[in-house]
Amino acid sequence: MEGKSYQRFPKVKIREMKDDYLKFELRDTDASMANALRRIMIAEVPTIAIDLVEIEVNSSVLNDEFIAHRLGLIPLTSDRAMSMRFSRDCDACDGDGQCEFCSVEFTLRCRCIEDRTLDVTSKDLVTPDHTVVPVDFSDSAGNESNENRGVIIVKLRRGQELRLRAIARKGIGKDHAKWSPAATVSFMYEPDIRINEELMETLTLEEKRSWVESSPTRVFELDPETHQVCVYDAEAYTYDDEVIKKAEAMGKPGLVDITAKEDSFIFTVETTGAVKASQLVIHAIEILKQKLDAVRLSDDTVEADDQFGELGAHLRGG
């Protein structure tokens, strides 16, 4: 038990970054770390979402609960969420969740007076707080059409009215999916593809072509001039085993050897727009650190070191 360190230094390399999309590599760590990150992004990064709705007037065709549920699912810009308090442990308002530290108030007043249908959308939600507003999807796509007026809540016809007050609060995806900032978070193991060139050369051109085409995604490519099979995009491989099965069916087992690199992951993160994709990853790491800190033993356990030995010192941050 010589003080061997298992500490690793994971590396992150960002491949592609948009406001709501991020693709990055995570290397030199293992699946537990990658998956912890994924799980935290889905379920534990806090956002702000409408949690309480007081309906004053609702003569629309949808009932109060229906509208309240739809309001809850509207993504709100939540850059403030990390620093905000959960209303359940807010001291300023004794947990009734209505104070400025733990909530944001919205009002919605809509009435259809024309003869055509009025769309009530997330743009109709009014709040004095400019840091927490419904996510605007119009700019990202670039097509500024008048159709794009936000998330439709309900449609009103002449004479119908909707008037309500909504309180948005901080929460996490574990409590309700409306607080999940993640649209899609997924990772894959980086594949390591080795073509057995020798065996490959024994194939006819026709066989090569049918083998390349047996993969549902474009992983391999047949060079039109040299008739050589090469890897076109290794990451397009979905570990579907189709090419391996095809090789076996052709009587050439071992034509290609594909292994998953156990310590390299390619992450794809898409957000609902509540936080930026890059922020989502950073927050997730932050939360993972907080969780590990909670596991770490406190300093007053030094006396128990004869019991835990080096582990105790390690958990204390030594």
Partner: protein
Amino acid sequence: MARTRATGSRSSGQTPLPHNSSNIPDAPPNPPVVPPVSNITGDNTTQQTIVQSRPVHEDSSSPYYLNSCDHPGLTLVEIRRDRNNGEIHIFSDGGRILRPLIAIENLSKIAQSKAGKYTFQSLLDEGIIELIGAEEEEDCRTAWGIKFLFMEDKGKPIEYTHCELDMSFLLSVSCGIIPFANHDHARRILYQAQKHSQQAIGFSTTNPNIRVDTLSHQLHYPQRPLFHTKISDCFGKSSYALSHDGFLSKNECFNGQNAIVAVNVHLGYNQEDSLVMNRASLERGMFRSEHIRSYKGDVDNKESLNKKGKLDEWINFGKKPSKIGRVDSLDDDGLPFVGANLQSGDIVIGRCAESGADHSVKLKHTEKGMVQKVVLSSNDTGKNFAVVSLRQVRTPILGDKFSSMHGQKGVLGFLESQENFPFTIQGIVPDVVINPHAFPSRQTPGQLLEAALGKGIALANGIPVTHATPFSTPSVDAITEQLHRAGFLRWGNERVYNGRTGEMIRSLIFMGPTFYQRLVHMSEDKVKFRNTGPVHPLTRQPVADRKRFGGVKFGEMERDCLLAHGASANLHERLFTLSDSSQIHICQKCQNVAYIIQQALAGFRKIRGPYCRICESANEIVKVNVPYGAKLLCQELFSMGITLKFETQIC
């Protein structure tokens, strides 16, 4: 269709009859005519000649005149000749089932130049398609499809009179929308077509706000399945905006949603036909439904009461503190305000009489909800009544029942968090996980085809293969090729990662969008539990009714089970202590039942308590425990003059 039949050729069996023209009482003024002939009864009838210059359906002398849109009613008349009895049967009553068939004799009228310009109505107008009724159908020889018209039987062409529009049209509506129905076991198709389609919660009406059904359900987000069938393409109006080729409109109302279904085990929570659902999907609104129950309360008519002169007993709406339930949500008129949240046991409709008698309508202990609407009205006899509708919004909970379109029903066994599900490389997690054991014995590969086709449709490059019509389904190759082109494994499997550990799962998992229905059987309506509660007044055993807070039956089978286990103490408790435990007194001397004297009668000895009237003694009387049911039987026998002797022993 009717009028054609009146004049056109009629064939029964394989032998076509000669053309007949006849004077049929209900026929149009100028019976259209084809060549002359004798009429059925043997008399000769007048001959007529055709002058055809106008379009057939406008020409009153044309056999298709009646078919025109100007005479929608007459097109539905059905005429049938009964050769055996020499009768003609004419049906014009409403409610008969008619179905469209291609009339072979008019098939030649289809003009190449008009290809693509025909509508259903124009084909009807020209008599190319006719509506056949149940009686008329008896004399039709109908081909399954166009290709059957060219088939030969022993070298001779078969003489068909009609042809099906599509082979799947032999199925009913509820059956014809099942994808790949021809791949499933017939029993499973019957389950779906007869039971599950009836029980599925959907969007059953477009005017829910002005209806007062006693009980109605609506799905919040109904969806259209990804696949089409020929029959589902016939839904909706042809004027519908989504009409894709101007001929048939797109299907509209379906009672379910497209769930991403994985066929896999999930920690044992989907054993025995239960299913695991994604909690995040449900929180996002999947299978959310509202349930509206209406309560009716009528009041007396003042005039009619006046005559009887008991104004005191006049029942009217009103809010008065009630002993039977809370009235907090009621307005002064005795009716709750819209939006009020009523709990079980509350008063829904406050009613009282001048005399102070309370006639309020109270919610049962299983009922609660928000007030959706309050309707005040009166019936034909002038009696006023109020209807209060309560609404409940429900999200699926453990025990709720779901079904695919292939008779594969199951109850919700576990709500799993999104992050714990296996995920694909694209980040897709299933909404529903069903157990692979549901397939081998049920023989419903149609569901697997549906999922595979659905995935191909959802993610297809280019124009997808969308049809899943029974009997003319796309080939398996078409489905697998479509999936391959979309970048998936041919057979619908996918490589997934374990959501808990992040490791790659060794086996591939079959996944795809499948149309699932939420059925009306929900555990909230069925939970039954009690510790103690009301008993039946006659037997003194607990009542059975759930609405009356009854008990769960411990029947014979359950009794047998405890006997087999030798758990007699438990059995005694179940069947006696917790049921109708009771005592009787027995005189050990004469072995008769001793009665309890409540009050000493004059002239008798001053005795109170158990006393044997036969031995005239209060000694040697013992109290025995006996189920009230047994005691009741004894008493009934006594009333018939039968005495019973009880041998007792003190132990």
